[in-house]
Point group: C2
DNA sequence: TTGACATGCAGGTAAATACCTGCATATTGA
DNA sequence: TCAATATGCAGGTATTTACCTGCATGTCAA
């Protein structure tokens, strides 16, 4: 198992087409390239490229079945992103107003 | 309050420099542009640009204090990203192996 | 007021990237 | 075998974007 690459995961999530692909796989896991193309108004090759980036980020895993390629979502990297990023800032969320007040009161402007 | 723009948030998080800026603000909230520049090996103007994107994504809020500009982290969009994205795929995480098995057993390849 | 300091604005460039077309390969089913 | 189907590979282009430099504006403190 590859170690997670924060940057690849965030970059992969940074494109709306790729988020849509994840959504599609969330609805129906294990879709083929052709099936996924059916939901996107875009050349097959572009979809392939997007799926390639998702796969490099370990957000999608593929299995060949004959001439087809099945795509499965892998939620693990997303969970790690949550652990490393969202939770960290959750703490801030609670103390934000306090910090803001404190800072502004430093010199009363 | 602006409605959250998924795309802006994800795009903002898609750059390592901007994630570093969020990290810096997580350590010490309310830093000035100059302070933040001190931690990044990059022209001031580039940092300004990154902070601008973070602000457009509502991930950072600014307050002017005299000739300085203070930057505060805003964890709310991150939390919404979590709600809309990570949780959704958490469900998948639990049923993933089951679905995979089922799919592969469909034709036993 | 005036010089030092903090930030804003207006471009300009090179690399990344999101698309595409055209052709090649591999698998299935008649 | 052979035609239809599913995907892979090799480029090409136009937009986006992550940097930069140079100059302008606004604020502070002596």
């Amino acid at each position: 198992m590859e170690p997670m690459d924060d940057d690849k995961v965030f970059k992969a999530l940074g494109d709306p087409t790729r988020r849509k692909l994840l959504d599609l796989l969330c609805e129906t896991n294990g879709q083929t390239l052709g099936e996924l193309c059916g939901h996107l108004d875009m050349a097959r090759q572009s979809v392939t490229q997007h799926l390639g980036l998702l796969e490099e980020a370990s957000l999608v895993t593929t299995v060949r079945r004959g001439r087809e390629k099945l795509h499965f979502i892998n939620p693990v990297p997303l969970h790690e992103v949550y652990e490393r990023w969202v939770r960290k800032f959750e703490v801030q969320r609670l103390s934000l107003l306090h910090a803001l007040k404190q800072h502004l009161e430093e010199d009363g402007t």
